[in-house]
């Protein structure tokens, strides 16, 4: 009887270990398969000709994705310019000013905003933002600025929830100390609280960047997908994610491999951003 219980306990433990290892296995598979499809072309065409190549004509042997790398960063920075101040001020309001009832209403609303699918953002962007830009600023409307605007809103929930956590975790004694010196609430916030929550806030911006650079469906609907580096904020552009999504369905042979090479570059950028962001969050906790 006791033997059976012991046996069962051991069995359960090993099953759970296997389950826990599945995440690592999946991560490993994703790496192996994207790399094994994406790397051969780097070898064949040359790293320089892909990463710094300007011409993307995969059926003619040109696999340059430099304009897309630049475009991806441009929309991401644009999204951050719009999303970072909005998100941070929202987080400050939530952590420092809002009452308990307000919080009960605002936090779920933000979570719901995070749940709206990216195709819906893309669709509304095409219907409302693109014509607005076309009519008031010029160009076709499918542009860097339209994409940045929509992405800026899409990354808000990420920025708000992570910088909120960073602000809330600042010890209460700091606030009390500052108030005791006669500082107003705002002086306390920008001289004491924001500096001590700095690494968490930066991490929220970087994770927001990660979301923006990885976003696909909204971007291909709004960006216009032109194959060159945009000369102004009103020019269309194509991002790394857009390149994959637009052509994967029909690509064959080297063309398909080229899309996986695009994926490899995207994966490396995302890994670096996530690593830096996690470093920021961990440091905050360690303090």
């Amino acid at each position: 009887m006791i033997d059976r219980t012991v046996f069962k306990e051991r069995f359960v433990k090993w099953v759970l270990v296997a389950f826990a290892l599945s995440s690592l296995l999946f991560l490993f598979l994703i790496f192996v398969f994207i790399l094994s499809e994406g790397l051969p072309l780097f070898h064949k065409i040359g790293v320089k000709n892909i990463i710094f190549g300007f011409k993307w004509a995969p059926t003619k042997g040109y696999f340059g994705i430099f304009p897309m790398i630049i475009s991806s960063f441009l929309v991401t920075i644009g999204a951050l310019i719009i999303g970072a101040p909005m998100g941070l001020s929202c987080a400050i309001y939530l952590s420092e000013y809002s009452g308990k009832k307000m919080k009960m209403f605002l936090k779920p609303a933000l979570e719901l905003l995070a749940g709206i699918p990216s195709v819906v953002f893309g669709f509304l962007g095409v219907i409302y933002i693109v014509p607005l830009v076309r009519n008031y600023l010029g160009g076709s409307g499918f542009s860097l600025i339209s994409t940045s605007l929509v992405l800026g809103v899409m990354i808000l929930p990420t920025i708000i929830s992570i910088s909120f956590d960073a602000l809330v975790s600042v010890p209460k004694t700091y606030r009390e100390g500052s108030a005791a010196m006669g500082a107003t609430k705002w002086q306390t916030i920008y001289k004491v609280i924001i500096p001590s929550a700095k690494s968490g806030i930066l991490a929220s911006f970087i994770l927001g960047m990660g979301r923006a650079i990885g976003e696909t469906m909204a971007v291909i609907m709004i960006a216009g997908n032109a194959l060159k580096i945009p000369g102004s904020i009103l020019d269309p552009l194509r991002t790394l994610t857009g390149n994959i999504a637009l052509e994967l369905a029909y690509a064959t042979g080297d063309h398909r491999l080229g899309l996986f090479s695009t994926g490899v570059v995207l994966m490396v950028i995302i890994m670096i951003l996530n690593y830096v962001a996690n470093f920021g969050i961990k440091r905050k906790i360690a303090k």
Binding site: P117, V119, V120, G122, G210, A245, L248, A249
Partner: protein, 278 residues
């Protein structure tokens, strides 16, 4: 000139107030547009009839069925895996190199954008494992995508279960697994359910990873090897290819409404759970 700090304080407070409401306003505007524009095109017949002429006419019944199949099957695979991982991380080990490694894996999976899941699912399930564009390929890709959410929420829920409950169970000579099964899991159930609901919401709204694994066939998927399209994919194709704006709005209402309801239910369950232990 020096402005009184109290006045600055007031102004900042007002500004932040406006900003917070503006952000919520965006959500309200998005939902309002979708509802006002879409409701006239949504009807009983729209939900329960088949699309005709690429979706120009008729309803969205197959895509609703496809969405439900995808979400439920992904949950069926991901819940045991995710919950098992969470139980292992919380109950069976101390923090060690091994748990750090697993956490690294989970965090990395959570950070991968959906288009890369699409690439992976396409090359691995669709091409290498020869599943073709199929419900199964979509489900397996989605399972990996939602795994991190389920692990994190379950882990938090299990950690929140008070230690006393476990001690009492051990004192009644229950084994570790019996304690987990009969005491810990029932107590953590609301939190675990929240994770499951959030994952369903994610599966319903996902497009990039699904379109390259499950495909976009308009037929009703009758076996797991059939291709199909979810509501999100159907909506994307209708809007992107300009097939029919009315049908696109109609689909958007059903899509957004179901995601909102699922997520609201998720947070409702979570709040109940928080109220229980605080």
């Amino acid at each position: 000139m020096r402005i009184n700090p109290r006045i600055i304080n007031r102004l900042v407070r007002m500004g932040l107030n406006v900003q917070a409401f503006f952000t919520v306003g965006i959500l309200i505007i998005i939902v309002a547009i979708i509802f006002f524009k879409g409701f006239p095109h949504m009807s009983f017949a729209f939900i329960f009839s088949f699309p005709e002429d690429m979706g120009r006419e008729g309803g969205i019944f197959p895509s609703i069925v496809g969405t439900i199949q995808l979400a439920l099957l992904s949950i069926l695979f991901a819940t045991p895996l995710g919950l098992g991982t969470a139980i292992f991380l919380t109950e069976y080990t101390r923090e060690s190199l091994f748990t750090k490694l697993i956490r690294f894996g989970v965090e990395s999976l959570a950070g991968i954008p959906s288009i890369l899941y699409g690439l992976f699912g396409f090359i691995f399930f669709v091409i290498k494992l020869k599943m073709g564009w199929s419900l199964l390929a979509g489900v397996l890709t989605m399972t990996i995508m939602i795994l991190p959410t389920i692990i994190r929420t379950s882990e938090e829920a299990i950690r929140a279960v008070p230690r006393q409950l476990r001690i009492v169970s051990y004192s009644l000579s229950a084994s570790k697994w019996e304690t987990i099964k009969k005491v810990v899991l029932p107590a953590a159930m609301p939190g675990i359910l929240t994770g499951i609901m959030l994952s369903i919401g994610r599966a319903v709204g996902e497009t990039a990873a699904i379109i390259f694994t499950m495909g976009s066939s308009l037929r009703l998927p009758l076996s797991v090897m059939d291709s199909g399209r979810t509501m999100a994919v159907h909506f994307y194709i209708l809007a992107r290819e300009g097939i029919s704006m009315e049908k696109a709005y109609g689909t958007a209402v059903v899509l957004v409404l179901s995601i909102l309801l699922i997520n609201i239910l998720a947070y409702y369950i979570m709040n109940k759970a928080i109220a229980r232990y605080s």
